[in-house]
């Protein structure tokens, strides 16, 4: 495109992309204003909304199943193979499948993203519960706790680190795949990337920058949540082991 040295050209592209985020531009194919902080904010909000809807729903479905299966030590094959099989689901094919066979809209996108979120949470909550020290469970039983109490008061807190690492994996995958949400009619940040004819190359790059930032922030946020939720006893035990 230009005879500029590669380094300068790259900086130029990224500079244009930042400009696109900060200042509304005139679209090349109409007189509309595109880009700018307002539109970027709107798309980010939608992106986060669909991500948290899908992640929350995946958690509501997968966590109880994983906890109960792990507590009663049943369905090992289901819990483990689910955790491996989901990696084979091609994102683009999944979204296209929903577009062609199910329909468009927020609900359909949420369901499609659920498919990516449930397996890692299910597997990790199963494995997390299975790894809980048997002595702790037997102790709780000796104190007269019921199965439900053991699951919620003993196994769930002790399995938090493993469960949260599943939630983080699910979150990364959901927020990544929400990028192609505009294909099913939900305008997420992916709109900048997919509608090049409206936003131009700088819009596409701006979208990629925002999506990458958002994903890294989500990962950091969930890591923070994990730290908050981990029982103090587990942290102490780990520090003692490390020392």
């Amino acid at each position: 495109v230009s005879s500029l040295p590669l380094g300068i050209a790259v900086l130029d592209s990224f500079g244009d992309a930042c400009d696109f985020i900060l200042n509304p531009q005139t679209s090349r194919f109409s007189t509309d204003k595109v880009g700018g902080p307002d539109q970027a904010f709107d798309l980010t909000v939608t992106h986060l909304k669909v991500t948290f809807l899908a992640l929350g729903a995946a958690l509501l479905i997968a966590l109880p199943i994983g906890l109960v299966l792990g507590h009663y030590r049943k369905g090992e094959m289901l819990a483990i193979s689910a955790g491996n099989a989901w990696r084979a689901v091609p994102e683009l094919a999944l979204i296209a499948f929903f577009l062609a066979f199910v329909g468009t809209g927020l609900l359909n996108l949420t369901i499609a993203l659920l498919v990516l979120g449930v397996p890692p949470i299910l597997t990790n909550s199963y494995v997390g519960v299975r790894q809980v020290d048997r002595a702790a469970v037997e102790g709780a039983r000796g104190m007269g706790m019921t199965d439900a109490e053991i699951i919620t008061k003993i196994e769930l807190p002790l399995a938090v680190p493993t469960i949260m690492s599943g939630v983080r994996t699910a979150g990364i995958n959901i927020i990544a795949t929400a990028t192609i949400g505009p294909l099913v009619g939900v305008l997420t940040l992916g709109d900048f990337i997919l509608s090049r004819n409206v936003y131009g190359d700088e819009g596409v790059l701006a979208g990629a920058i925002l999506v990458a930032l958002l994903a890294v922030l989500l990962e950091l946020g969930l890591a923070g949540v994990q730290r908050l939720l981990t029982p103090r006893g587990l942290k102490l035990a780990r520090e003692t082991a490390a020392a």
Binding site: N124, L183, L205, A208
Partner: protein, 260 residues
């Protein structure tokens, strides 16, 4: 609405105009879940994307394995490097694949190179973590035996530790390959073709989605089986111990892989 939707409808319309009496085109015009005769007549349009997809996956996984393997060998006797490498590969893994492809475009341009760089980056974390876990799980007794035979550190690594870590290493390769088959569906946005190309160009055409998606799943399953066979060939001692124990070993593997 994305322009690709229009192009999909446009193409369907063309098909219908071409020969409205042909039963295969009426099936396509009605967009039924799967049109066998259309699939049989048009399967050749999936050959190029299939080959492109295959090349992307193989090149990326081989490159990723070489890099991760080198990292694992370097960090093996330098334990303090392990968290650094795990963190660095983890950050790469966090960036959504589509964004990664686009971010590389100004630097490496559209094409296979860009897709291979991003896909390779994604394989690093899984493969590296599995090699490190495999090396960590080598029994102390085996290492002591090797040292007792007068092996040097390098001999111990190549003749004792790495062979014993093969199950975990191949497990890592399997996950990395299967994920790469799936992620490569987005390589179309890097201008690298692959099976995402036919999907993206006709997003609402059901038969097309079923064929291209089916081919990807088929590819993932084939790789999984091939790598399982490779694992069996590389670990003759596990087979010698009998199906029961190797089955248990395999399951223990699955646990290690999923509990992160």
């Amino acid at each position: 609405m994305p322009s690709s939707l229009f192009s999909a409808f446009h193409l369907l319309a063309q098909v219908e105009i071409r020969d409205p009496n042909d039963p295969s085109t009426s099936c396509v015009a009605e967009n039924k879940p799967f049109c066998f005769s259309w699939a049989a007549d048009n399967f050749d349009r999936y050959t190029t994307p299939l080959v492109e997809h295959l090349v992307l996956v193989v090149v990326s996984v081989v490159l990723g394995f070489l890099i991760a393997f080198a990292m694992a060998v370097v960090s093996h006797r330098r334990g303090w490097l392990v968290p650094t490498f795990t963190g660095a590969t983890g950050v790469l893994y966090t960036i959504p694949s589509l964004a990664f492809f686009i971010l590389l475009l100004p630097i490496t341009g559209r094409g296979t190179d860009t897709a291979v760089i991003a896909l390779t980056a994604y394989t690093l974390q899984i493969i590296y973590r599995n090699i490190v876990a495999g090396l960590a799980n080598v029994p102390e007794a085996s290492k002591d035996a090797g040292l007792g035979m007068g092996m040097s550190g390098r001999q111990l690594l190549w003749q004792v530790e790495l062979p014993l870590a093969v199950p975990e290493i191949v497990a890592g390769l399997r996950i990395a390959t299967v994920s790469t088959v799936a992620i490569a569906s987005l390589a179309v946005f890097a201008g690298a073709g692959g099976l995402g190309d036919p999907i993206y160009s006709q997003l609402t055409f059901k038969t097309n989605i079923v064929i291209a998606g089916g081919l990807m799943v088929l590819m993932a399953v084939t790789f999984e089986l091939l790598l399982l066979i490779l694992q069996a060939l590389l670990t003759p001692w596990l087979r010698a111990r009998g199906a029961d124990e190797s089955g248990r070993g395999h399951f223990a593997d699955l646990f290690r892989r999923t509990a992160t």
